[in-house]
Symmetry: C2
Subunit: 447 residues, 2 copies
């Protein structure tokens, strides 16, 4: 067959011959080891024709399919089966350019302007903003240390008055069940089962956005000395997988879950590559959406990820990498929590040790503030934020993540991350935050 | 300042040390030369800190800005100034994940469901489909060999009846002025000036989507022997740039043009990277759009393109590459046109030699078909398409690109591309297409 049909350029006109990437040697995962013992993997222009690889630049760098490259779709499908094993037959995966885009695609595909979707009362701000851009507001549900409270979710839905709200009852629920941004909360198995049951009762579609799923950590023991990185290393891949809280996808017997996975937190955000898993019918629609918008993730990203994940590592060694990353974040969390125990005045600020992710959420008791009653919670929050900046430190304001009605005054919260700062800077940052709290609340300086 | 604010992962957790790319040596642009004389450029994790480069993996692979990487924005801005030099001050550029996505962003940002946008009567099908997904239909304007006919555009807008159409008068016009897909037509300078004047009269925003802009070719001389690649090589970069038909952006004295550029046809489609140039006010809005959707192009793509375009080539050598690509496509076009002159029965099929791009558009005289009057034009088109497939060759149906009202019957057209098939296969493909026409129209076989 001679094709004069499609408008694909010839790969003879791509100004590249190959792409080589320095990737980690066997279990040599520290930054120093990656640099010193990097192994080179190479993607040639015609590796497929030459029988060298299942993927090459001539394909990766040309136009592809709306599903993403079949090679990557195959890999993420296998990975999803290993980790989640969805309990129904006709599920499928489609590649995305990241979960923010994937969530926005879902909003566009399921909702109309004026609709509402359900979210945690404090939620990922880009998700809230994506909705606002589409005229779709979030309805924030109250949270506790395990995230969304099922009884409040049921109450809001049961009492929904379409006339009063001028909108149909919401049927889309957005969750970050593990290491939620910004609160750091993780829903336990029972919490997930309760929410799934409410989704069945009210016929909801659950979007589970899980960038931090593999950053599930050991339980933090207060006062323990855990900052030396002595996190428990699982004895086997199976033990590691069993230690993870089951996903909504793994309990989805009715095809009502859309799971968003991302390489951003476990490989690199700049890959702009993730995937979405749900029933094949919904996948097909979202693939069509890709075709007239982003088309597919970058071919450079897909080829490099495939080379690393499939041909260099395989599924087992990728799990080893995840165990490594999880351990690193556990150590960072422990360092920050120990600094909090040492410095933060508990009479004005409290926190729950996060079981996953990269965020620590401080609840501030604004009633202890000298100007309580005269200043609004938002004003007190701003005063603390500014006092922290005066100490040359940055935290995120809780109100930036508030998903409740605009204008209503949330409680006072601040979010810190243990993701990026050097370890000594993290401790110093918490010390400065504590100082700022003492100044703002008129407490004596720490001895 | 210690930041515990943003949720950026540490680059210590990216499982990469460096990315190396084999790129063309000095003016060694053929596929064989690229392979044999590839030069290696390397992007390290911390090249910026080490003073080795203006960009590195620690930045490119982390979260970036909605505008795209400042390094790439700087490069495309310089390139745009060199090539188009927009005649007003406050223009700006923002990176996109390709022009299909960029156009869809514009539709979403400017139009409401139920609106119309203006397009050529035969237009890029993904643009039409992107609109349909949003409930925004195209209004197709008649075309001649130079694309959109200004008088018909003016007539449609002047006679627009908001009540009858149940929609406001369209103000967004979508054009592929150079090597248009599917018709291969290129608007001359005067045509562009006339359309710009109508845009001023009716206060239109012009979206010029120009993936084929640099694939402008020498004039084709019928019966000449040009398939030996003897296209004129310009004597200087300046001569090359002057040989290009001026863009709408270059004549935009009122900030009403949004130009979409793409690396897909001149570097590689799989880069999923392009940019958009317009007034800084519109750019700011589209950057916000990026922030809650795609965020930015892949960091692998941006880093590799920056390394190639800025640090390996610079602007001049990139123009050399464009001259090379243009020459390659000229040669391919000439080969296909000479095959057409040799084989195609002109009594039933006619074509205009394209001045740019990668498409050749055949107008079929359906009145010559034995079943004319009994079969609709679409049925005749389908019969030809199937006859071509019987000859083990593929062309694209014209009706796939029809932007007129659904159900109306367009004329009969077929599109061939000279982009990808081997040169001998192109000639054979045209010969088979000619055979299929002879069979369908009951003409005697060629001697």
């Amino acid at each position: 067959m001679i094709s004069l049909g499609g408008g694909l350029p010839s790969s003879a006109y791509f100004p590249f011959d190959n792409v080589s990437v320095g990737v980690p040697g066997d279990n040599l995962f520290s930054e120093k080891d990656i640099h010193e013992y990097a192994q080179k993997v190479t993607i040639g222009m015609h590796d497929m024709k030459e029988g060298k690889s299942a993927y090459d630049l001539s394909v990766a760098l040309n136009y592809g399919q709306g599903s993403g490259s079949p090679q990557m779709v195959r890999w993420v499908t296998e990975h999803t089966e290993i980790v989640h094993n969805p309990p129904y037959q006709d599920w499928a995966a489609v590649m995305t350019v990241g979960s923010t885009s994937a969530f926005e695609m879902c909003l566009r595909s399921f909702c109309n302007r004026g609709d509402y979707f359900i979210a945690d009362e404090y939620a990922f701000c880009s998700a809230i903003e994506a909705g606002r851009g589409l005229g779709i507001e979030a309805v924030g549900i109250h949270m506790d240390s395990e995230g969304m409270i099922p009884s409040h979710l049921d109450e809001v839905l049961s009492k929904w008055d379409e006339k009063e709200r001028k909108a149909p009852k919401p049927f889309l629920i957005y969750l970050v069940p593990t290491g939620q941004n910004p609160t750091g909360s993780t829903q336990g198995t029972q919490r997930r089962q309760e929410i799934y049951a409410i989704a069945q009762k009210h016929d909801l579609i659950i979007i589970e956005d899980e960038p931090y799923y593999f950053l599930q950590m050991d339980k933090y023991v207060q006062g323990g000395s855990q900052s030396n990185g002595s996190s428990v290393t699982p004895g086997s891949h199976d033990e590691f997988l069993k230690s993870l809280t089951p996903s909504y996808l793994s309990m989805d017997i009715e095809g009502r879950v859309i799971r968003l996975d991302s390489f951003s937190k476990v490989i690199a955000p700049g890959s702009r590559c993730g995937w979405l898993t749900t029933s094949s019918k919904i996948c097909e629609r979202l693939m069509r959406h890709n075709e007239v918008t982003v088309q597919a993730p970058s071919g450079f990203s897909q080829a490099i990820l495939f080379k690393l994940l499939d041909e260099h590592w395989g599924h087992g060694k990728y799990l080893d990498w995840l165990v490594h990353i999880r351990k690193e974040y556990s150590t960072r969390r422990n360092i920050m929590l120990e600094a909090c125990e040492k410095y933060i005045p508990r009479e004005v600020a409290t926190w729950t040790p996060p079981a996953a992710g990269m965020f620590l959420w401080f609840k501030i008791d604004s009633e202890k503030h000298p100007a309580y009653g005269k200043k609004t919670p938002r004003e007190i929050e701003h005063e603390i934020f500014e006092a922290v900046v005066d100490q040359k430190t940055l935290l995120a304001k809780g109100s930036w993540f508030f998903a409740g009605p605009e204008g209503t005054d949330p409680g006072v919260y601040l979010r810190a991350t243990f993701a990026a700062a050097e370890e000594s800077a993290m401790v110093e940052g918490i010390r400065r935050f504590a100082n700022a709290l003492r100044v703002t609340f008129g407490l004596p300086a720490q001895a």
